[in-house]
Symmetry: D2
């Protein structure tokens, strides 16, 4: 997709303020590490609190940052005075997530007035490079009047 254009001059401030209100992201320790029109990255550092029974990142933690990255990527293109909700998503867990840091890269594939479709890819990063940990497809819904 070439050059999606924000429809609200305050898009960046709205996205950052909404993310700051996501208490769950703070509870996980996630940070928004990149914001551009149609593209948001969210980064999560490994802590023991985020693990499943083998000591890897729990699929729920991996999915949570993939979901927020997709949702805010969509929101960068939403008009003012609207909110974003996830309607549905699907995620494939490709490799064990046991790296020091995860980054979820949410990208808009198809913007729309009501529904926006995003892809979100999660990479595990350590000193040896990047591993493709997960890939997902997300449907986000734009809700007029439900201010984020």
């Amino acid at each position: 997709m070439t050059a999606p254009a924000p429809r609200d001059s305050k898009w960046r401030a709205r996205v950052e303020a909404s993310f700051a209100r996501q208490a769950f992201m703070r509870h996980l320790g996630a940070e928004m590490s990149h914001v551009a029109p149609g593209a948001v990255d969210i980064t999560l550092r490994m802590t023991p609190d985020l693990t499943q029974q083998h000591g890897f990142f729990h699929a729920g933690a991996t999915s949570s940052i993939a979901d927020s990255a997709a949702g805010y990527a969509a929101m960068t293109l939403f008009p003012a005075e609207t909110g974003v909700l996830t309607s549905e998503y699907k995620i494939n867990l490709l490799n064990p997530a046991r790296q020091a840091t995860l980054v979820a890269r949410g990208r808009v594939i198809k913007p729309g007035r009501t529904l926006t479709i995003c892809q979100s890819d999660v990479y595990g990063i350590d000193e040896t490079g990047e591993v493709h940990v997960a890939t997902g497809l997300f449907t986000l819904i734009c809700l007029p009047g439900m201010k984020d």
Copy 2:
């Protein structure tokens, strides 16, 4: 599906011990509230830490308990000396999750030697009754030698 039979006499102890090692479930405050062959429920009480920007449960929190319920429902039917990993899932978020308590009900639809397919439904519960908050389909993989 009629009466799935565990293949390991210690299935319940293994499932409970593995869940106790999921630090992420503890970090969310989730509890395993029902365990039977092919069926596991996980319960999560609302706290401010679990919310997204509108004050509802974050889709990531909802999905995380749906995933653990599906995974442990599958594991009740796995042989000894095996582990469980989520291969992929898809979830539809049906209604805002703003109730006092969520319960995820993971059920085995199709057991298999390598792949087990589960459905997981999440309900929001408060004094007025139950709301169907989410429904998902999960593929779990049985890993011989990767003891849970």
Copy 3:
């Protein structure tokens, strides 16, 4: 879900007329075998034209009737002067589809003004009984003005 109510007195005629215009269903040999509010079944008899390389029903044939069953189940609850399109779906193929007849049972899980979520289960039927061949989740969109 209890007793979904059609919003258009001509719902049955509209659904049947729209199905009759789906040339692709005719090309496969599929028939609408049950129609009720929030529920549509579509039946497909095995012919050599529908097979993949092992002689089973091709996943595409199985999915096609699951999709039409879900779409028309949703449409039974749509207002007059609207059309239905599939926004997305996910399907798990549970068992080889090698029976004489497939029936896809589409059921509305969550009706909505814009988005309706359906489950569609496909069963293979022969003289020995029913096999659960596939299960899927579908998001249908209601399009005002796009008359079906």
Copy 4:
């Protein structure tokens, strides 16, 4: 993913012979238009037989070629004496498929001994260019002994 390597010198002949046995692809009029390690394209020309009620390609036709493209992309990397089955997939329909020709581009994202994950994107092509009609994620299973 860089340079996936086939594990069977006869991979191309096996893939082409298996596709030739998919009677369903022939029934739709689909052709395999590109075959390389980890990548298969399938092309489908519009005919009235393939339409839904608005005259677009039926989602089932679009999904069917996306599924075969993903399955054969996976099979290019499978060892000899194995077969391929679709375990599950999810597809988002992004734009109406009303172009003269569809091409589904199946690509391996993550090869594996048992499970291979593919992305399949479908484009509608006419004199004005390409439209991104659908995107999907597919899990394929490699079955030793089930010769394709």
